[in-house]
Amino acid sequence: MIMNTFLAFLIFFLTHILLIRRNKNRDQYVAFIFSSIISILFLINFAKDSNTEELFISTFFLSSCILGIFWFYYTFPTGLSSRLLYMMNKKINNKEIINKYKKDLITSRIKFLEKNRFIKKKNNFLFSLWRGKIISKSSLYINFVLNKK
């Protein structure tokens, strides 16, 4: 059961790396969703003999591992804090860091949100769409857990 899940996870890992590495400008969500579907299909194929309970737990475990990789991708190679840490370690001045990000830090994030349909732009105004609303509502739960206002 665990071996099947790990095999399916390995397939996901290799597929999504291959897709992202081949074309940097490729839509990353598409790469993640495509490789997730492939890995889940492989898992179902591997676990032909197992019962529903085992299949459910394996799929749940695989999904959480995929989510972990998703987190890793958006935290380390594309995250801001890790890049700042790298620059600080290289002894780059705070002013230089700010100048580097001054132009496009926020605008690039807005473009990303717009491209992935979390927000909509109309007449220079930004609107939140249902996807964005769901994610922002979940912040209430996290704020409660972390005791933040």
Partner: protein
Amino acid sequence: MNIIKLIILIFFITTLINSFLNFFNKNKEIKNFFFSLIPVYLLICIFNFFGGSLSLIKLNMLFISCSIIFFVLITNIYRSVTLEILMYISKKNKIEQKKLLKKFDVKKFITGRINNIYSSNIYIKKKGLNLQGKVLLTLYKISKIIYNR
């Protein structure tokens, strides 16, 4: 015990213990999360012993899956730049892009992040990176190689 009930139970207990720890031990979210794992694991073992019939492997797989999901939630939704922007737009429902850019002043944003790095002692001004910082930086370098960025 039904698996879905067990998953809900794990999330419920983790939420309770985490919010309790964060209430008394502020600004140590990640440490509190790891501390909360031990009582959660013990509690679900007890619940499974009395009301469920899951084997230890299945129970561990469920527990690890839920922990990963919870970890991703608390680390990503709370601190990501993109999500912070998304939450602000969702809160306001409709906002002009210029106003948003004014609100998210890059200089303040980056100095805030740098101060966070200093205050969490990941990077100490005279000494450089501590062990946690070194691990994070290594992960960043590995991720850059993996994703060809």
